[in-house]
């Protein structure tokens, strides 16, 4: 896989299904991106954190994530989130004694604003040797 795919969009009503669905979808996309196992685990951990924390910051009652993978790279775009929700979601992902997990795992972290909405873009990649 060399070209960037058209994004896949996942929308799950905030509740117990968000985690199981997101971790499966993100895990599959990480595998397609040919990320090594440790980065695949990182991607699933990010998915779990988004699933756990995003419902408090979404615009409505659903957690929406757009995914796109390319060679050894996975992009997640979480949102729409409420104003300030992008940063709040990242802060909420902090774990005592560990620090901010999303910030530590992501190769790129960006908050995009569209009117009243925000989107958190998280990029995980692998550039190391095989």
């Amino acid at each position: 896989m060399t070209a960037v795919e058209a994004p896949t969009r996942v929308s799950v009503t905030a509740g117990p299904l968000v985690g199981p669905v997101l971790r499966r979808v993100v895990g599959m996309f990480a595998a397609r991106a040919d990320l090594p196992l440790d980065r695949l685990d990182d991607a699933v951990l990010v998915a779990d954190l988004v699933a756990a924390r995003a419902p408090a910051h979404v615009m409505d009652a659903t957690v929406d994530v757009a995914l796109a993978s390319s060679t050894r790279s996975l992009d997640l775009r979480v949102g729409p989130l409420r104003a300030g929700g992008g940063r709040a979601l990242v802060i909420d992902a902090a774990v005592p004694g560990v620090g901010n997990v999303i910030e530590r795992l992501a190769d790129g972290l960006e908050i995009e604003t569209e009117g009243e909405q925000e989107f958190l873009r998280v990029r995980l990649a692998y550039s190391g040797a095989d």
Binding site: T8, V10, V21, R24, M28
Partner: protein
């Protein structure tokens, strides 16, 4: 789905099967995208590519697990939805690019799965000369099936699966 036109003759479990026939799902009516956007617990919008059928199956597994569905129902649901998605990949866009829209929603004693596309709708397919077993298979595996199709604005299959089923004759 575009390769199958025999839904009205399909065997089915005993629920209802409705073929809404050719309807304009575009302007003046609900588009397939808008229709699939009804309240649902899970919605996936994916490029209509073979590898994404596996993704849909995986998500169905998550839903079935969370809902505690019996293995038999889960298997039937996976097979029927796989067939519906495969039909979209194979037939809906004539080899071009397009999307599959899948919505999954618990509805009381059943679980409803909607597979929609924005392709050329149901109809005969130039690349299949076979009997078109897809739709009869889907009908046999579902407890109810509703088919809506537009001439050029896509199609939508609404499949319902009861959580528990009466014992079936061997």
């Amino acid at each position: 789905m575009a390769g199958d036109t025999s839904s009205s003759h399909a065997p089915f479990r005993g629920g209802r099967i409705t073929d809404s026939g050719h309807r304009d799902l575009g302007s003046g009516a609900r588009s397939s995208r808008a229709v699939a956007a009804l309240d649902s617990d899970i919605r996936l919008t994916l490029p209509a590519r073979p590898e994404n059928v596996a993704l849909v199956r995986d998500v169905l597994g998550a839903l079935a697990e969370a809902e505690g569905l019996p293995a038999r129902v889960t298997d039937d649901m996976r097979l029927a939805v796989t067939e519906a998605c495969t039909n979209v990949v194979r037939h809906a866009y004539g080899g071009g690019e397009g999307t599959i829209d899948v919505s999954m929603r618990p509805t009381g004693d059943a679980l409803e799965v909607i597979v929609a596309d924005e392709g050329r709708g149901l109809g005969s397919s130039a690349d299949t000369g076979g009997p078109g077993l897809g739709m009869p298979l889907i009908a046999a595996l579902t407890d109810s099936l509703e088919v809506e199709r537009g001439r050029s604005t896509g199609s939508r299959l609404t499949m319902s699966f009861l959580r528990t089923r009466a014992m079936e004759p061997a």
